[in-house]
Structures are given as C-alpha cells and as structure tokens.
Symmetry: C2
Subunit: 282 residues, 2 copies
C-alpha cells in the first residue's frame, strides 16, 4: 500500500490518516474534501496533497470513504470508473447493509470492504483528529463473502487497523446493523425520547430544577443532531424498530413489577451488564 486517498477529511478520516503516519506508514496520503477542510488538513500535516475525487481515486491503493452515510451512498457510483483495478475501497459508515449493497452494484474494477470503527468524540472535524482515536476500539469489517478478507489489499488494511491499536472484528453487514441497533441507535433514541418526554411535560421547568447528575448523563446523547442521525435511522429502520420494540417490552415489564420485589432481578441483570461494559472500556 503506497497511496491512500482519504475521502472526507473529518474526525474519522483525519484520525485514520494521522494514525497511519504514527504507525509508520511512509506512503502518500491524498485528501478529498471541501477547500477549507483541505487547507486545514494540509496545514496540520494530516494529508500530503489535496485532489478532486477522480484524480485521487486514480492514484490510490486504498480509498477510505469517511463521509456521512448518504454521501457514501452517493459517492460509491462515482469511484469505480477512476479507481485502479484491484484498489481497495472501504468506508466508515455507521450502518452497513445499504452501503455494502450499493458497493456490490457499483464497484467492479476495484474491490470493496465495508468498515465501521467504533470510535468517536464529542467534537468533530479535522481539528479534532487524533492518531489514538481507534486505540482499544472495535473496528467492524463487513465482507460480503468471508473470503473477501483474504485478498492482499484487505489483509494490508486489516494490518494497518491493528497497527492503529484497534481490534478488527469481521461480521456480516446484516449482523453489524443488528448489533449497532442495540449498542448505539437504541441508546440514542432512548435518550432523545427521554429528553423529549420531559420537555413536553407541563411542568418541564420544575423538572429541570429538580435535575441532578443522573439526568445529565441520561440526556447527553439527546444533544446529538438529527443531521447525523437522520441518515443512520433511515438506513437501519428494521433492526432499530426491533430494538425499540424490545426496549418497550422491557419498560412494560418494569411497569408491571413496579411495586414488586421481582424488579430486583432486572436491576441485577442491568447492573451486571453495565459493570461489564466498564471493565471493557474504562
């Protein structure tokens, strides 16, 4: 792998580029983004050269699509005609089925391997890029066929992901979308629904007055913008609906058990799970 094109030089794309450098990548890093972002990325040494998509795609061994989902879907059909044969196209979209399907329809000369690094920050943009962003995080890869992981460019990508400190985990796109419906999309909607339900109470002002650190934590995700989430929700509606149904069942179970000691069991299951999460991530 001698040349990498980062398409979308934001937090994730910029962090991948910085991570590559820190891990010893000595090839060329091309950037495709808005003029302002490109200038910032050049000044910060995140990329070596700014180019339009077709010219970057024509030179790259790895094309790294670090864009919002809808822009990944729009960009995929534009790549194949410029890309080098056997170049690897990968992406970082938060849902995978629609993207993997679109890639199967549009990427023929090049190869495609979907990805999703479970990494993020509260701040965005190339100014927040961090070579350590992926460290100790799961990096999902979603081959259409498990054999896709055996190609030489795929093995090279997996090698770099490891060198960035991340844990590559292969799953099908379908399985990925089911997992993140629970691990990410449901927590987001649970927080948004909580904040909205409180905001819509006639005494919302009093409720705010009564808030403590618990409510602050529970409404942190509710700060997220629909500009990011609209894409995610509309490309994973079936699994998200399943997760919401399951969550509502759990809440109805709690309603039934409110004055009963049976609720102790739910608290125990929940606190065991929350503790395990912390052992893994803290």
């Amino acid at each position: 792998m001698e040349t990498v094109a980062i398409v979308g030089v934001g937090l994730i794309g910029g962090s991948f580029a910085l991570g590559l450098r820190q891990a010893g990548f000595t090839g060329r890093i091309l950037g495709v983004s808005s003029p302002r972002t490109l200038q910032e990325a050049l000044e910060r040494g995140v990329i070596d050269e700014a180019l339009p998509l077709d010219r970057a795609a024509a030179r790259a061994d790895l094309i790294y699509l670090s864009l919002p989902i809808s822009r990944i879907l729009d960009t995929l059909p534009e790549i194949d005609s410029s890309a080098r044969p056997r170049a690897l196209v990968t992406d970082v979209g938060s849902t995978k089925s629609r993207i993997v399907e679109r890639a199967a329809q549009t990427i023929h000369r090049a190869r495609f391997l979907g990805g999703h690094p479970m990494a993020g920050k509260e701040t965005r943009g190339v100014v927040s890029a961090d070579p350590e962003l992926f460290r100790n995080r799961t990096y999902f890869l979603t081959p259409r066929d498990p054999a896709d992981l055996d190609s030489e460019p795929a093995r090279t990508l997996v090698g770099w992901i490891r060198k960035l400190g991340a844990l590559p985990v292969p799953v099908s796109a379908e399985e990925h979308d089911r997992i993140v419906a629970y691990s990410s999309h449901l927590p987001q909607l649970a927080s948004t629904a909580l904040a909205a339900a409180l905001a819509e109470q006639p005494d919302a002002e009093r409720i705010q007055q009564a808030a403590g650190p618990g409510l602050l934590g529970s409404t942190r995700l509710a700060l997220s913008s629909y500009d990011i989430w609209g894409d995610i929700l509309s490309t994973n509606p079936v699994h998200i609906d399943d997760a919401l149904v399951r969550y509502i069942e759990e809440l109805n179970g709690i309603r039934k058990a409110l004055s009963s000691p049976d609720l102790r069991r739910q608290f125990q299951i929940a606190s065991d799970f929350a503790r395990k999460l912390r052992q893994r991530l803290d």
Copy 2:
C-alpha cells in the same frame, strides 16, 4: 436553633452537618446511627456527640432524618414521644407523599416539614460527606399547608438551607412526587431497562464489543442498586407508571417516524431540553 440531631449520619446527613458548621452554626450536633458510623463521624468531626434516638430527639430543636425511605417511615412513629414540643422534624426521603402522610399521623407534639435535597454523589457514607454537596442544588420542601413554612423553626431551617448554598423550593408532596418521577425515577428505569434489554440479547457479548462512550453514559444509572431503588419505586408507583407510559408513547412515536424527517422535530425538542439542563447545572 441550638441543637441538631442528625438521624442517619451518611452522605446526606453528614454533608448537612458539615455544611451547617461551615455556614457558621455554633450549636451542638448530635448523631444517631450505627456504632461504626458514629465512631467515624466523631473522628471526622461531623458530629459532636453520639446518642440513641430517644435521647437525641429529647434534646434537639431540629431532628434531621437522613435515612432510606422505609427507615424514615419506621422511625417517624418513634420520635414524637421523646421530641421536645415545637421541635422541627424534617427528612430527606426521595419520595414525599407517604412520608408526609405518616408524619401527619404520628408527629403531634413536634412539627414536621418534609424535605428533599436534590444532591448526591456516586459514593456513599459519612466518608463521602461534603459541606458543599448542596450548593446550587434545588432543596424541595413539602409543607402540608403552605403556612407550615411560616413557623419560626421552619423559617430557621430554610435560612440554613440557603446558607448551605441550596435553593429551597416549596411544593406539595404530590407535586414533588410527580416531578421526581420524571426527573429522577424515569431516567433510572430507562437506564435499567436499556441495560437489561441489551444484556438479554443473544449476542450481548458482541453488543458489548461495539459499545462506545454513548452507551457507557446511558447505562451509568443502571449501576444503581435495587437496595436503594426498591423503596423509591414502591412509594411512588402511580407517578412513575404515568411517566413510563408517557415515555413509551414517545418511543412509539419515534418508531412511527423512524424513516421520516418528522423525527427532526423530536431531536430538536430533546436537544433544546438537554442543552437547557446543562446551562443550569454545568
């Protein structure tokens, strides 16, 4: 107010005692608690003297019941026979209707004024007591009759609450229990239900692997123990059930709008509310 009896010298009772001292209280602080806690509280200078309940009640102008709800309910009937006429009994229980009702049945010689400081910490016990715990926090007071706040001992208590840096807010016990059902009990159950729903998935292990900081925040309350929450839930079931029903309605509304741009409005309402909370508390 010359003598205060702290009944239950834990995080809240200990912090109230330390706060009084820091705010210039020069009277005597008596402690009623387990032998081990009393020794710790004496060593740390949180209390001046350790006594059994009846002897502390007999000497105090203010009897501060900082105990779990069920122990407040059990202790109230034991106080009146020892308490001085016109002494003020107050409590810090997280739900108020049952306590205020029990106090009306059992406190006759003394007076009673229910309270609930919206303050806490992740750690418990007198070792975590902090004179600053109440600063900038709402301190609900729940008089049966608004005139209860006009008695001299009640005005003295309100004065000290202000000197501790807290904001005294009078509400009826009923209103209090409705507010905290939304501000505190619903967020707790939303987090417990989320963690339990995830724990019960067949691929719970993979879901943990995919977890990021968002899920960590959303499951922080799920770490809470039923030992504390059992009392709260069983003494406020009606309002909590209302809040759960409202929350489930909101989640069902989100389900219907999953692939529709109508969801933008819910995200906006939620993020506005979450931002306002932070302006108040951060």
